[in-house]
Subunit: 338 residues, 2 copies
Amino acid sequence: MSNGFGSTSNARESRQWIYMSVPEGKLTTDIFKLQTIEIPAQPGPGEVLVRNRYLNIMPGNRAYMRMGLIAAGQPMWSLGVGEVLASNDPGFVPGDVVEGLLPWQDVAVVPAQTLGKREGSYPVEHYTGLLGQTGYTAYFGLLHAGQPRAGETVLVSAAAGGVGSLAVQLAKLSGCRIVGIAGGADKCAWLEREVGADATIDYKAGNLAEQLRQTCPDGVDLFFDNVGGPILEAALDAMKVGGRIILCGNASQYDSDQEMLGPKGVPLTLILKNLTMRGFPYKAYEQQFAEAERNLWAWVQDGRIKPFYHVVEGLEQGPTGLVGILSGANRGMAMVRV
Amino acid sequence: MSNGFGSTSNARESRQWIYMSVPEGKLTTDIFKLQTIEIPAQPGPGEVLVRNRYLNIMPGNRAYMRMGLIAAGQPMWSLGVGEVLASNDPGFVPGDVVEGLLPWQDVAVVPAQTLGKREGSYPVEHYTGLLGQTGYTAYFGLLHAGQPRAGETVLVSAAAGGVGSLAVQLAKLSGCRIVGIAGGADKCAWLEREVGADATIDYKAGNLAEQLRQTCPDGVDLFFDNVGGPILEAALDAMKVGGRIILCGNASQYDSDQEMLGPKGVPLTLILKNLTMRGFPYKAYEQQFAEAERNLWAWVQDGRIKPFYHVVEGLEQGPTGLVGILSGANRGMAMVRV
């Protein structure tokens, strides 16, 4: 059937990762299959042909599998950024830089309504990092939801990760004392040396409660949590009366097929200590994305913050990259360069 | 040894409940022992002799046992109200009505610094109910922490209890639609008929998730939770995006010697739905107790709210009364009349 743009004689090939089946337990690369498909040169009505540039890899991708949002037998996808090659929708023209849920392909035909146009002339990788979901999660989660005040003790989990490494810097910018939690002595050293954490906790070294007492002797005012699970449970005991907990992620529980119970201190520790716990989806702040973009970029230009990127080279490395970041391979914001 | 107030020739007898040992599993009356002791007629320096009038019984008393705040082998105590018979402290004179942590006795010598004087001429039972911990917990928890808005759906657990029955009425006063959770069809009928709930859920009838869907088809804006555990877990799934949860109690977990894990949806459901969960100790609002007293009393005088009291007659019935309310015997605020 013709789509009005002529035959598929100009069709091109694209690699495509298929998500074959729901993982049992931890994610492994063998549930993905790389195949080559034919992409029509011209998209159908309301569609856009996109050349993918960067694809986000983050623990949340694994959560989407658990939740069934990524469907078995279908192309793998994640948030990403690309360039419009051809458009059959009035909202886009070739050359536009677009952001959206992109299939893990070199080139893809995508419904226009799932894409957003990115204005500005930032280097394109920033749209999947500093000026995208990762950066905005740190920005709105820490600054807007968290309301850090100078002198406060701020605890950040998964501090060496994409959101975490930025949250550490934004808390520092707010005049706080920062304690970062990460896995391994190397990452902790990096957090103190490069990212600016005042102290760190290596959760792999064990005895989390004692490490929290030593690094936060007066308690935690603000906990920015990316991981949930045992770290959230231990942190509840370390909170000051009246403390705030911003829940940004549950990474400790994503890479599993078990449904876990919550931390022991809910609700009693929250009641006794007058704690507030706030779940935080960055999309809730959509109206203020322009503010975040402007401020984050200005702070980078001033040298006050630094985006740390973990770039996995090549679409063919996507699944390996995702498995890697689930086991904590990355320092900073992780993405696949297509 | 003389205390400067003469001999103990005017000593009087008082009954006294001793909390003998930490309960294993559910609380039973046999861990309490009633004995008769001799009370000096005059208190020592910095002490006050109090005739107990009403003693609070609430699920929280059982929590204090778990937490070791009520010590085995010592007199049982709870928050209560009494009248000063004699004072050896400049802050109190005979006839003062005082509130504080009182031992379960007819008469007791109490450190003056643990007591607060209650002004006003309210019927004395209100200081353990409407104008005390119970009433203030409902008032500040629902109105200040909860910020109910007209038209919202408010869910209240343990809605037939002391805090709950008042919270239902305060939410109604705020123009909300109220769904109350209670145990048993009788209590649910009472909540709808007498207290003003628009709909009720009998959690003992099972299938909590389905009952929540039926009574809150558009979801819950504000959940005022007194019980934690499985009800909190089910309610998380029933919350609207952006909903607020006020945590006032964990009654489902108090009457046990097990330390329970938290609800499944922490943190992921909170993140996905942008929920806020706030622990709420009423003491945090101490500076505004006068406002609560004024408003609650005015609303009672106007007939806009009604304090429901469950009065257990006689000190000798104290343990039976406490065991009773832990199994849900009460409708409204429970207290022992000494």
